[in-house]
């Protein structure tokens, strides 16, 4: 029971983190058709910026400044990089962001070194929020949840209730028409890219302590975010939400489960010995298999339901 509750809580926190990344990616993809390979790199930059700014001005201002900085960088990437290759099609755009992810990872090494930085939870939010089954639950995870949920509520409201939000929504499906009506669509691109990058940066700020802050973190998390986007259905933000939660919770549970096929077979009275051909495969613990689960889910999804959970078009 304790295991189930804590895995659910941690899985939900991780899922929300994934959703912060995948929602920005989905937004950018829906509007511009660009698959941003540098998205996880901006997440990483958010984590590094927050660490650096926390040392200079304290954590609370850093929580605001780091995502803003990421948003500015995102806007610059769109304005001065992607716009130049936009006319040459999506492959050129993907390749541009792919090259950028290399460069950002190397710039991070240049700025902060190759080793992980000690990105600890700041003292001001490092206390127990509540106790469950005699174990304390840290406040910063509650804060992570609150910030992500609050951010989504704000963005949802902004999209549904403001004029600019309506224009962006219209541009998602009918960019030419929106342009014909006199709106500056390229400027919308910059804006949406900046919002997505700022979201990734914010996820980096609050996810930085939960994950190891190191130059490889973008390369480690990036593919999982892509899986989320495909499983949820490319271009669907609600789909990205369900897929984020699904993968977040499944992966958290998997890490906690110390069982293997051998145990399952044992329950049915079958025992394998080391000499058996399939022993090695059967002996893999679920916890060991955790890194592979999102990708297996991806393949299964592609075979069973190519459009993803809530996708409207076949992916």
């Amino acid at each position: 029971m304790e295991l189930v509750t804590f895995s659910l809580l941690n899985g939900a926190v991780y899922g929300l983190l994934l959703f912060m990344l995948s929602s920005g990616l989905t937004l950018i993809f829906s509007l511009m058709g660009v698959l941003n390979f540098a998205h996880a790199s901006l997440f990483m930059l958010g984590a590094y910026f927050s660490w650096q700014l926390s040392r200079w001005v304290g954590f609370a201002p850093a929580l605001v400044l780091a995502p803003l900085l990421c948003g500015l960088i995102g806007a610059a990437i769109e304005r001065y990089g992607l716009r130049a290759v936009h006319a040459r099609g999506h492959v050129a755009e993907i390749l541009f962001t792919f090259g950028l992810s290399y460069v950002i990872a190397e710039l991070v090494i240049m700025g902060w070194g190759r080793n992980p930085i000690e990105n600890r939870v700041p003292a001001m939010i490092d206390f127990a929020a509540f106790h469950l089954f005699g174990t304390s639950y840290p406040f910063y995870k509650v804060l992570m949840t609150a910030i992500s949920v609050g951010m989504f509520a704000f963005l949802y409201g902004a999209f549904k209730r403001t004029r600019l939000g309506l224009v962006i929504q219209a541009a998602l499906t009918h960019p030419q028409m929106v342009g014909a009506l006199g709106h500056d669509v390229p400027r919308l691109f910059v804006l949406v890219f900046a919002i997505g990058s700022a979201l990734a940066g914010l996820a980096g700020v609050i996810g930085g302590f939960a994950l190891l802050t190191e130059p490889n973190m973008a390369a480690n998390l990036g593919p999982i975010v892509f899986v989320v986007v495909v499983v949820g259905g490319l271009g669907s933000i609600p789909g990205a939400f369900y897929a984020s939660m699904l993968i977040g919770i499944v992966q958290t549970f998997a890490v906690a489960l110390d069982y293997s096929m051998l145990d399952l077979l044992g329950a049915f009275g079958v025992t394998l010995t080391r000499a058996d051909r399939l022993y090695e495969v059967a002996a893999i613990k679920i916890a060991q298999a955790a890194p592979i689960i999102p990708y297996v889910l991806l393949v299964v999804m592609l075979v069973v339901r190519p459009r993803g959970l809530l996708g409207t078009r076949d992916t």
Binding site: G33, V103, I284, Y295
Partner: protein, 409 residues
């Protein structure tokens, strides 16, 4: 095949034959470098069947290279154990494994093209990489699987102990694979690949299933990637999880794209250039991946055809004898660009030293100039050099563009 093309192929074969004997390239280091270039060229050519010829952008092509490599290394182990097959045939095991996995995984991945294909290939790549680490019995974990190419039956008096003999095995397979891929692109299926790349709807309209065409070319490409993996297994006598990693998939993409995807020769040029950078630049600087990334982005932004594109762009001027004028215009750009590059390299190297090797102190030498990075002067001078180069470049650029127009007109 026209006579001219046949002449090119014979010239290529002769070049491959004499290259490791040319003075300057006849050291064991250069022969090893040439061997690595050959392996990379087969892999990059197989990648370009997807990206250049069919328009499929894959981020997981190392899967087939690596699995082919694993199959070949296990085959080599079997030969070490007494299987009477000579070493030069080992890459065929790699090709067979590449083809088999290409058929199995290709059936899932090639249903879609474009962005989705790119995403799926990335996911499959990560999955296979994670799986190799989970099954240490077959894949040997991080350390990998080793075998010996010398504990095998001798063939035609060759024992494959020296780098030169290995080079010739790889040169032979490079030539054979390149010729096979070149020929494949001239079959009706190969032509349909181009059609599916350029206009899938029209290809479908005239009765070809684009999905089928993608599947066929994907399997063929995986087979040649597996062959490259087999060559890798012979050359290094070890295959580890790194062979299927996302890094390797990324590097082959860089090779094919930097070389130029619109020309057959492009992948080979890219493989030569990137392998050389990997081997030699990494001796001088730890920042070589940054330079590679920046170089790649510059190619994506400014030079669509890659290195091969630069060559074909200028070939008409050489023929029309107007290349001299163009060269003079380029010479004008040399000083500003050199200043920019010099300033940027100085800044990058100083920053890298400060953050990745603080224990080696603040004194360093760069381009034979001693500097102390704890004072602001080297930073200011480097930044000023870069800025001056940039401003000067902005000023000469219109003149070069005008010259370009004049030559073209």
């Amino acid at each position: 095949m026209t006579r001219e093309r046949l002449a090119w192929w014979i010239a290529a074969a002769l070049a491959l034959a004499v290259l490791p004997l040319v003075p300057g390239l006849d050291s064991s280091f250069s022969r090893s470098l040439l061997t690595q270039m050959g392996i990379a060229a087969v892999f990059a050519l197989s990648y370009n069947l997807l990206l250049g010829q069919t328009g499929l952008l894959s981020f997981g092509h190392a899967v087939y290279f690596g699995l082919g490599g694993y199959a070949a290394i296990h085959f080599l182990r079997a030969i070490n154990g007494g299987l009477p097959i000579p070493v030069p045939f080992v890459p065929l095991a790699g090709a067979a494994a590449g083809l088999a996995f290409g058929i199995v995984l290709g059936a899932v991945t090639t249903r879609r093209a474009g962005t989705i294909f790119a995403l799926i290939s990335l996911g499959i790549g990560e999955m296979v990489h994670a799986a190799t680490l989970m099954l240490p019995g077959f894949f040997g974990g991080e350390e990998g699987v080793t075998a010996s190419r010398t504990r095998a039956p001798h063939w035609l008096g060759l024992d494959f102990g020296s780098q030169l003999q290995v080079y010739y095995v790889i040169a032979f397979w490079l030539l054979a694979a390149a010729a096979a891929m070149y020929a494949f692109m001239r079959t009706p299926v190969g032509r349909m690949c181009n059609a599916v790349r350029d206009n899938p709807e029209r290809a479908e309209f005239i009765g070809y299933n684009p999905q089928r065409v993608r599947f066929v070319v994907f399997s063929v490409s995986a087979m040649f990637a597996g062959l490259a993996g087999g060559l890798h297994a012979i050359n290094y006598e070890i295959v580890a999880a790194e062979a299927v990693s996302a890094e390797r998939s990324g590097v082959v993409l860089l090779m094919a794209y930097i070389g130029g995807v619109h020309h057959f020769i492009g992948a080979i040029l890219g493989a030569i250039a990137i392998t050389w950078l990997q081997v030699s630049l990494s001796d001088y600087t730890t920042a070589w991946l940054l330079y590679l990334g920046l170089f790649f982005m510059a190619i994506v932004l400014y030079v669509q055809g890659g290195l091969a594109g630069i060559v074909t762009l200028h070939a008409p001027f050489v023929r029309a004898r107007s290349a001299g004028r163009l060269l003079r215009a380029y010479a004008l750009a040399f000083v500003p660009v050199a200043a920019e590059v010099f300033g940027a390299i100085a800044l990058i190297e100083m920053a890298y030293r400060r953050s990745t090797a603080p224990e080696s102190g603040t004194h360093m030498r760069l381009f034979w100039i001693a500097m102390d990075t704890s004072t602001p002067w080297p930073w200011l001078i480097a930044a000023a050099t870069w800025a001056a180069g940039y401003v000067a470049w902005r000023r000469v650029r219109p003149r070069i563009a005008a010259e370009w127009e004049a030559v073209n007109g």
